[in-house]
């Protein structure tokens, strides 16, 4: 079934030929609608891929009741940015500066993407990524959280994340004894 679409974007035309619609519409818990590239959504989210494959995508907006509009906007923004990032540029730069990073380190734009989020927005996005089965976004957001912990003392970490230390003194002592090997040089 070939539908002639008059839409402008040159790089989109190839994708349009492959399917009737090249976007899907998602609806947040508070009823806001967002459009996202079908290809990116299917590639980045196992849950959306399943819904697209299973035909349970609603053209008027697929309900995602667990995700608020701010988090969904970030999810959609991430998908669209991902779809537009140019792999050849990344390849050239990575071939020029090798690194031995253990993980697929967040790319520059991914870093910026999570850096601008507020504390709450970051956690909303982690939960949304987890719900939608977005492995890469989960990596990038969890990596960001880990960076907020790196090089900090337990007290500083508690302060950053508002964690209440409800250990008793006896319990703390017990842990420090049990795991003494991890607490030298303190």
């Amino acid at each position: 079934m070939e539908v002639d679409k008059g839409k402008g974007e040159a790089e989109e035309t190839r994708k349009v030929a492959e399917a009737d619609r090249d976007t899907v519409t998602l609806k947040s818990s508070d009823g806001k609608l967002f459009e996202v590239s079908k290809e990116a959504a299917a590639r980045l989210s196992t849950v959306l891929a399943g819904m697209i494959a299973g035909g349970s995508i609603d053209d008027n907006g697929t309900d995602l009741k667990q995700i608020g509009s701010e988090a969904l906007e970030n999810v959609v923004d991430y998908c669209n940015k991902h779809a537009n990032s140019i792999p050849s540029a990344a390849l050239i730069s990575s071939s020029i500066s090798f690194n031995t990073a253990p993980f697929k380190e967040p790319e520059e734009w991914e870093r910026k993407f999570v850096d601008r989020l507020s504390h709450d927005a970051l956690f909303d996005l982690v939960e949304a990524a987890n719900f939608l089965g977005m492995e890469r976004l989960l990596d990038v957001t969890c990596h960001k959280i880990s960076e907020m912990m790196k090089g900090k003392s337990p007290d500083q970490i508690r302060e950053v994340f508002n964690i209440k230390n409800d250990y008793t003194k006896e319990e703390l002592e017990e842990i420090r004894q049990e795991l003494a090997w991890a607490f030298y040089d303190d």
């Binding site: 050849s88 071939s95 956690f123 939960e127 987890n130 959280i145 790196k150 209440k164 230390n165 842990i175």
Partner: protein, 390 residues
């Protein structure tokens, strides 16, 4: 904030978003920390007490340890405390001052075996930075590759010494291996044959004194499943033979002693490239700040490739260079006379690379404008080496 004897709050504080995440997400977060930081999260609150034990990835990092003994004590205790909980990845990094895995090789082998028995898919071994080492080099030796695993898919080695025997054994005892990355390793091996490997990266950029070993052999790569190949600065190796690389999609190759003819034969072997590829033989061309060297290189190129090289798929060559670079004219002449049919040539001003890259060639193949072949000119390694030429 300590409330000794106080009553525990069942629900987490509404402001404490992190402790409210499900366990598996916290395991994921902890997996990004170094092993010591990961264990130390146990002290945050009772919610965190045992989370570290289940982190699926372990980054055992010597940084911050006062001594080798403390580090070894830590890793031994860590592995014992974790027990046999499954692991996805294990990284061992000797980046602390005066900590060298080679000094306690047998213990390090035990740790690695322990990790492999936890069915890890990814293993990284990073020996102490040899550029840091004033005295003798202490590469971590994988003598006869004393491990085995049916699960290992990715292996990263840095400052590791490995020979032909060990490389052969690696490919036979790790039948699931798909990714192999060797950075600054001492590789006494010339034959790389594997039916499973998909990604191979070999990089010698900071290798201190490879010239001393005087190895002059042809490196053979026979890997029918290989999808991506990145080789950078194989000093001493003048030839690279790609036997079966039929699945290759991405390649970047940078040979220290590469010749234009050599580059062309590699290009021939890469003719099936489906997508993007880069090829970097560095003495094909030239370094603008040393015009003498540059002229020599250009004439070498011209003499070297008496017959034009046929490349049907080559559509376009992009030359990226600083404004006013004198080599461009020579370059264009060489390309137009040596490549059949003559490609379209476009010249772009250069910006953004560091000083040592003076001219960049991008060979664009096929229907879609994809970069296939990429020549990086200049001396993209240590400054002291480049100065020797002047």
């Amino acid at each position: 904030m300590d409330t000794p004897g106080g009553k525990r709050v069942e629900a987490t504080d509404p402001g404490d978003r992190i402790s409210g995440l499900p366990d598996e997400l916290l395991h994921h977060v902890i997996s990004f920390l170094s092993a010591r930081d990961a264990v130390r999260t146990c002290i945050l609150s009772p919610r965190w007490r045992h989370l570290w034990r289940f982190a699926p990835r372990l980054n055992v990092d010597a940084e911050g340890f006062a001594s080798q003994i403390r580090f070894m004590e830590f890793v031994n205790a860590l592995l014992l405390s974790r027990g046999s909980i499954a692991l996805e990845s294990f990284w061992l990094r000797a980046n602390g001052p005066d900590i060298f895995l080679e000094n306690f090789r047998d213990t390090a082998y035990l740790w690695i075996r322990h990790a492999l028995r936890s069915n890890i898919e990814e293993l990284g071994i990073v020996e102490h930075d040899q550029n840091d080492n004033e005295d003798e080099s202490e590469f971590f030796q994988l003598v006869r590759f004393p491990f085995t695993s049916s699960y290992l898919e990715k292996l990263h080695l840095c400052y590791v010494e490995i020979d032909n025997h060990a490389i052969k054994k690696l490919f036979s005892v790790c039948p699931a291996l798909e990714d192999l990355e060797m950075i600054n390793c001492e590789i006494y091996a010339t034959e790389f044959s594997s039916t499973t490997l998909k990604n191979l990266t070999i990089n010698y950029v900071h290798f201190p004194n490879f010239y001393d070993y005087g190895i002059q052999e042809c490196i053979v790569i026979n890997m029918p499943s290989l999808v991506s190949l990145h080789i950078r600065t194989l000093r001493g190796w003048s030839e690279l033979s790609l036997v079966d690389v039929q699945s290759l999609i991405t390649a970047s190759i940078h040979l220290e002693n590469g010749t234009f003819t050599g580059a062309c034969s590699i290009l021939g072997a890469l003719s099936n490239l489906k997508k993007v590829g880069l090829l970097l033989p560095d003495d094909v061309l030239l370094d603008s700040y040393d015009s003498k060297y540059l002229d020599l290189s250009c004439s070498a190129v011209a003499a070297d490739s008496a017959t034009p090289f046929s490349c049907e798929k080559l559509r376009k060559v992009e030359i990226v260079c600083p404004n006013g670079n004198k080599t461009v004219g020579v370059l264009v002449t060489i390309l137009l006379t040596k490549l059949m049919p003559p490609p379209e040539i476009s010249i772009k001003p250069f910006s953004g690379f560091s000083w040592y890259v003076s001219v960049l060639l991008q060979f664009i193949m096929g229907e879609n404008p994809k970069v296939l072949f990429f020549i990086c000119c200049g001396l993209p390694y240590r400054a002291d080496n480049s100065r020797r030429r002047t």
